[in-house]
């Protein structure tokens, strides 16, 4: 546990060192945004009653006012309350998706990079194919087959991010494998498993925050997209930005802007924050990764 701690905390050290450079500033803005959203996700629903997110809680389509800062929607729900509750939903899906992708993608990438040869080639081909396919379509297909719900959407999204975790882990493993200390361990007669787990994995873990923040924005967008298409969550989830946008669609023609604007702004704030964090971290921690992505 000690080593995992030191590995996951280590990225923050350069983050503090680089706080005056552009990537540093971006990362801090991003991190701040993410933390703010997490706080809203945890405490927002405590402060805003769930009753306000239910249909017919208020008169329909009230424009923003002091009572309803973001107005009410087409079936009488408070837009602000929906937006707050939606934060929790989005963060939960993001966490499930990222965690599952990590649990599957990381070990496969590690193994593929370490073993090399035919296994590696086949895995890379499969992962690249999945990567080339439109992620949203694949997720939509999976969601349609396994059904709605926060956990199911998490799974559907995971499938499209496994290739990313795989690819970055594998590349990092490949370069770590050639390091002198690995060579030294091998010369000392360490077994393959030992080398892979305690020499290589140890040094590859550092890329995880980067992959997470690079894929997290996309995760949010895909989840919202699925909900928008009506393939996402059950109808009784108290907050769901994608569905809110889908519901808002009908009223656009009458110039009702608030039901669309606010959920969208929430998505953008979160995704922009995450991508700032991702790109900042990427520039700081791993210039090498960036080269491979470009």
């Amino acid at each position: 546990m000690e080593w995992l701690h030191s590995r996951l905390v280590r990225p923050f050290r350069p983050l503090i060192r680089e706080r005056h450079t552009l990537p540093g500033i971006l990362s801090w803005i991003g991190l701040g945004t993410l933390i703010a959203f997490i706080l809203v996700g945890i405490f927002g629903p405590v402060l805003v009653s769930i009753d306000q997110t239910k249909a017919l809680a208020y008169p329909i389509l009230l424009p923003p006012s002091l009572q309803h800062v973001m107005g009410t929607d087409g079936i009488g729900r408070d837009v602000f309350a929906r937006v707050i509750w939606g934060t929790r939903t989005s963060l939960m899906i993001m966490a499930i998706g990222a965690l599952l992708a990590l649990v599957v993608g990381f070990p496969i990438g590690l193994l593929s990079g370490f073993v090399g040869g035919k296994v590696d080639r086949v895995l890379v081909l499969v992962m690249d194919s999945v990567y080339a396919f439109p992620g949203l379509l694949l997720a939509a297909l999976i969601a349609a087959v396994i059904g709605k719900g926060i956990f199911n959407i998490g799974i559907a999204i995971t499938v499209i991010y496994i290739p990313l975790y795989f690819r970055v882990t594998r590349n990092q493993t490949l370069s770590t494998r050639e390091e002198l200390y690995v060579e030294a361990a091998r010369a000392l007669g360490a077994r393959s498993w030992t080398i892979m787990l305690s020499y290589i994995a140890y040094n590859v873990v550092i890329v995880i925050p980067v992959i997470f923040s690079l894929s997290a924005a996309d995760t949010i967008l895909t989840a919202a997209g699925l909900s928008y298409l009506g393939l996402g969550l059950e109808i009784d989830i108290p907050g769901d930005w994608g569905r809110d946008l889908s519901d808002a669609q009908r009223f656009l023609g009458s110039g009702i802007w608030w039901t669309s604007l606010f959920p969208g702004l929430m998505i953008i704030l979160l995704t922009v924050g995450l991508s700032f964090l991702g790109e900042g971290l990427n520039d700081i921690i791993n210039p090498l990764l960036k080269k491979e992505r470009a």
Partner: protein, 322 residues
């Protein structure tokens, strides 16, 4: 790669635990209908038999017949071919918008490194790329369709009789017919969806063009040109820009995935009657053969495009040899 993609689609549709037919009907049909549907589609056979049948279907171009309420009994392939042009038209429109905005922004950004215009455009590139495309579409609808009334917000065509179907691209068909008025109507309908999808894609173009231009602007041969006293504008357009575009074409291949995913959402926002809408309707009506057909066609398009990109790459970059 094609085979792998097809296998993955197969795996998702058949091997994933759970019953796709039951999930698709979502309790709307009695168990015996579900069982009968499954039998009718051969989903009760062993996987290897299904797999062979499935590949056979694809390579003979026979995708079966629809079982959904919308197109019951009709050939899946015919319906898909009917809807495909709409998606192609939208994709081309979006690519044009994305290339123009993205390349222009990338060049401005790359030639003014670290100046305010560069920083602003880089921010634009990052932000526009993570804006939900369906939300952007709604906002553009609110502004340009509802408020200003410049463009229609929905559908591909209205007001006039539809152009004769030749290519299925309404803009092209109307021109082939020599009807400028029809062309303008089609174009008007195309503007907002293309702009929506194109803007989102332009973020990526901006970044890639900028990064590559930065690399070529300082390359030796560009320095040499500079030393010979060639004006800076000409250096950028003739020397740096051309070489900066080559890697852009390479990464373009990966953009098609985003393009088609975005197209599904954009189609929904603008009621654009293409493949994406067809897929959504098919999922709604539990039209299993149609879903499979649409996804397979998407896979074929993606693979086909990536082959084309490879060929183009070989043509414009003499260093690439196959």
């Amino acid at each position: 790669m094609l085979l792998i993609l097809l296998t993955i689609v197969f795996a998702v549709l058949r091997v994933i635990p759970g019953d796709p037919i039951a999930a698709l009907f979502a309790g709307r049909a009695p168990p015996d209908v579900v069982a009968q549907t499954r039998h009718q589609l051969g989903l009760d056979l062993p996987y290897w038999q299904q797999y062979i049948f499935y590949l056979g279907q694809i390579f003979t171009g026979n995708f079966g017949t629809s079982i959904g309420e919308n197109y019951h009994g009709k050939s899946v392939l015919a319906i898909i071919l009917d809807k495909l042009p709409a998606t192609v038209e939208l994709a081309i429109g979006a690519m044009i918008v994305a290339s123009i905005i993205g390349i222009a922004a990338g060049v401005v950004s790359g030639t003014n490194r670290d100046k305010p215009s560069d920083v602003a455009l880089r921010l634009y590139g990052t932000i526009i790329f993570v804006i939900p495309v369906f939300w952007l579409g709604q906002i553009l609808q609110l502004i340009f369709a509802v408020d200003l009334g410049w463009f229609p917000a929905q559908l591909r065509f209205s007001g006039l009789p539809f152009p004769n179907q030749v290519t299925g691209l309404y803009t092209v068909d109307s021109l082939l017919q020599g009807r400028l008025d029809m062309f303008l109507v089609a174009l008007q309908h195309l503007v907002l969806p293309s702009l929506t999808l194109g803007l989102v894609l332009s973020g990526f173009f901006t970044k890639t063009v900028r990064a590559n231009l930065l690399r070529t602007v300082n390359a030796d041969y560009v320095e040499a040109a500079r030393a010979r006293g060639i004006p800076e504008g000409r250096i950028i357009s003739r020397y740096a820009f051309k070489n900066a575009l080559i890697p852009v074409v390479t990464v373009l291949g990966l953009q098609f995935a985003i393009l088609f995913a975005g197209a599904v959402l954009t189609e929904r926002t603008f009621s654009w009657d293409g493949m994406g809408m067809l897929l959504l309707k098919s999922i709604d009506s539990a039209d299993y053969p149609m879903i499979q057909g649409v996804i397979v066609v998407y896979a074929l398009i993606i693979v086909g495009l990536s082959v084309i990109i490879d060929v183009i790459n070989g043509l414009i970059d003499p260093r690439v040899r196959y």
